[in-house]
């Protein structure tokens, strides 16, 4: 072994990290090499000097209250997040109730938008209201989850509003979500595929506004089941599809293409639904 190799190994030699064979080789080398012996002395000396620089421990009374301070700090962290979660939660709950009871009835009964003559403006208004409702429902759900987690999770983890965690800890919530998901995804798939392809004639007796609003309600159910982004996106898609469908009624050669596309979308949504269900059931 030469000096360069030995010097690489000296720190680990001093720290007792070498295997027996390598340690013996280093010892053999340093027995005949004064420079490497000095290197070892310096390494040990550096360790001693650094060790001596360690500060004295604080007095015993410092440790007396240490555990309690860690505990109160954990509680404070939880409390802060909980307070932050509860204020928008309460606001969201109140606003959500208002929207459900008022705006939806207004839309579904078909009186509210009668005075608006532009179809695009009407659709935009509906989309905006639905997106606002979606945001509100999302905030409410988040606040409720935080509250549920606070009840069922261990003390140090209650500040997390993770849906997965709440589901894992709460069988009733899991059952409700599975039900909502099944209704939501099956509903979306049925409406977005068969309605526009084969079953359109069966529900033709419904006024178109009702059908469109029923579709949107289904989106809302899917959203409530925990996929807010998907809800907002799907709302946009559905509006697009509705316009595309209306356009295709006039240009019938593209209708088949749209139907095929909608079937594919339906299958994809069903697959995502099954995937989400497997996460829940697992």
């Amino acid at each position: 072994m030469d000096c360069s190799k030995a010097r690489d190994l000296i720190p680990r030699y001093c720290n007792g990290e070498l295997d027996d064979g390598t340690r013996r080789q280093v010892e053999k080398h340093i027995s005949g090499c004064p420079d490497c012996r000095t290197e070892i002395e310096q390494e040990r000396s550096l360790g001693r000097v650094l060790g001596q620089s360690a500060s004295d421990d604080p007095p015993e009374e410092y440790w007396g209250s240490y555990n309690e301070r860690v505990r109160s700090r954990s509680r404070a962290a939880v409390g802060m997040l909980w307070r932050m979660g509860s204020i928008p939660g309460c606001l969201a709950g109140a606003f959500s109730g208002l929207i459900y009871s008022g705006v939806f009835l207004w839309l579904f009964l078909g009186h509210g938008l009668r005075s608006v003559h532009s179809a695009w403006l009407k659709d935009t208004l509906v989309a905006l209201i639905l997106v606002a409702t979606g945001v509100v429902v999302y905030l409410t759900g988040k606040a409720l989850l935080t509250k549920a987690n606070r009840r069922v999770l261990p003390r140090y983890e209650r500040d997390e509003s993770s849906l997965k965690r709440a589901i894992a800890a709460n069988p009733a919530l899991r059952r409700i979500l599975i039900g909502l998901l099944m209704v939501g995804y099956v509903g979306i798939s049925v409406f977005s595929t068969f309605l526009y392809t084969g079953m359109w004639g069966l529900v033709r007796w419904l006024p178109p506004n009702w059908v469109i609003n029923a579709l949107r309600a289904m989106m809302l159910i899917a959203f409530t089941a925990g996929i807010p982004g998907q809800y907002v996106m799907t709302c946009g898609y559905m509006d697009g599809y509705i316009h595309a469908f209306e356009w295709c009624q006039k240009h019938r050669k593209y209708l088949l293409l749209l139907k095929v596309w909608l079937i594919l979308v339906g299958i994809a949504m069903l697959a995502v639904g099954v995937w989400h269900l497997t996460i829940l059931v697992r």
Binding site: L50, S53, D57, P59, N67, R71, A77, P154, E157
Partner: protein, 165 residues
């Protein structure tokens, strides 16, 4: 512990608090910062306890959380001057002047290291960890530990040459 027992949390705090405080103190050279960061490390560890795969590696995991906190703290805070250390230190005024001076020089030399190098040096020389253990604790390759240690060693020898020769 992973079920959230308060007694288990108390037990773990009791078991690791001194070593964690010492490491934080060595990293920051400040009692106030060590007090704050060591408690924060416990709070974060308990909050994320479910991420801990092996309960027996709680100690290294806690140390890793603390080192990351200290590195972030060092990036925010300009290292305090020597005099500040002394006013913060619980050391008695009658402590030996020469010993105190040597200690201050060493502390300054440690403080002047890059925070990542400082963590490696302290874990190696003060906690007596092996390089593989340091790599685990810091979540970096052993080669990185080795190079940081070498670089820090060269700097320390340059600054403290007369103390170690």
């Amino acid at each position: 512990m992973q079920a959230g027992s308060a007694d288990a949390c108390d037990f773990l705090v009791g078991r690791y608090r001194k070593s964690i405080y010492r490491l934080a103190r060595a990293m920051t050279q400040s009692h106030d910062a060590a007090d704050d960061l060591s408690q924060e490390a416990f709070v974060q560890a308990f909050r994320r306890i479910r991420q801990l795969k092996k309960p027996e590696s709680f100690g290294p995991w806690l140390r890793k959380i603390l080192v990351n906190l200290c590195i972030r703290h060092s990036a925010r805070i300009v290292p305090a001057s020597l005099e500040d250390h002394e006013t913060e230190s619980p050391e008695s005024p009658s402590a030996d002047a020469e010993r105190s001076m040597v200690r201050d020089r060493v502390r300054n030399a440690i403080l002047e290291l890059d925070p990542a190098e400082r963590a490696v040096v302290l874990l190696y020389y003060m906690d007596g960890l092996k390089q593989t253990e340091i790599a685990d604790a810091l979540g970096c390759p052993v080669g990185t530990v080795w190079s940081r240690l070498n670089s820090a060693r060269c700097k320390l020898r340059g600054r403290l040459g007369d103390l170690i020769s």
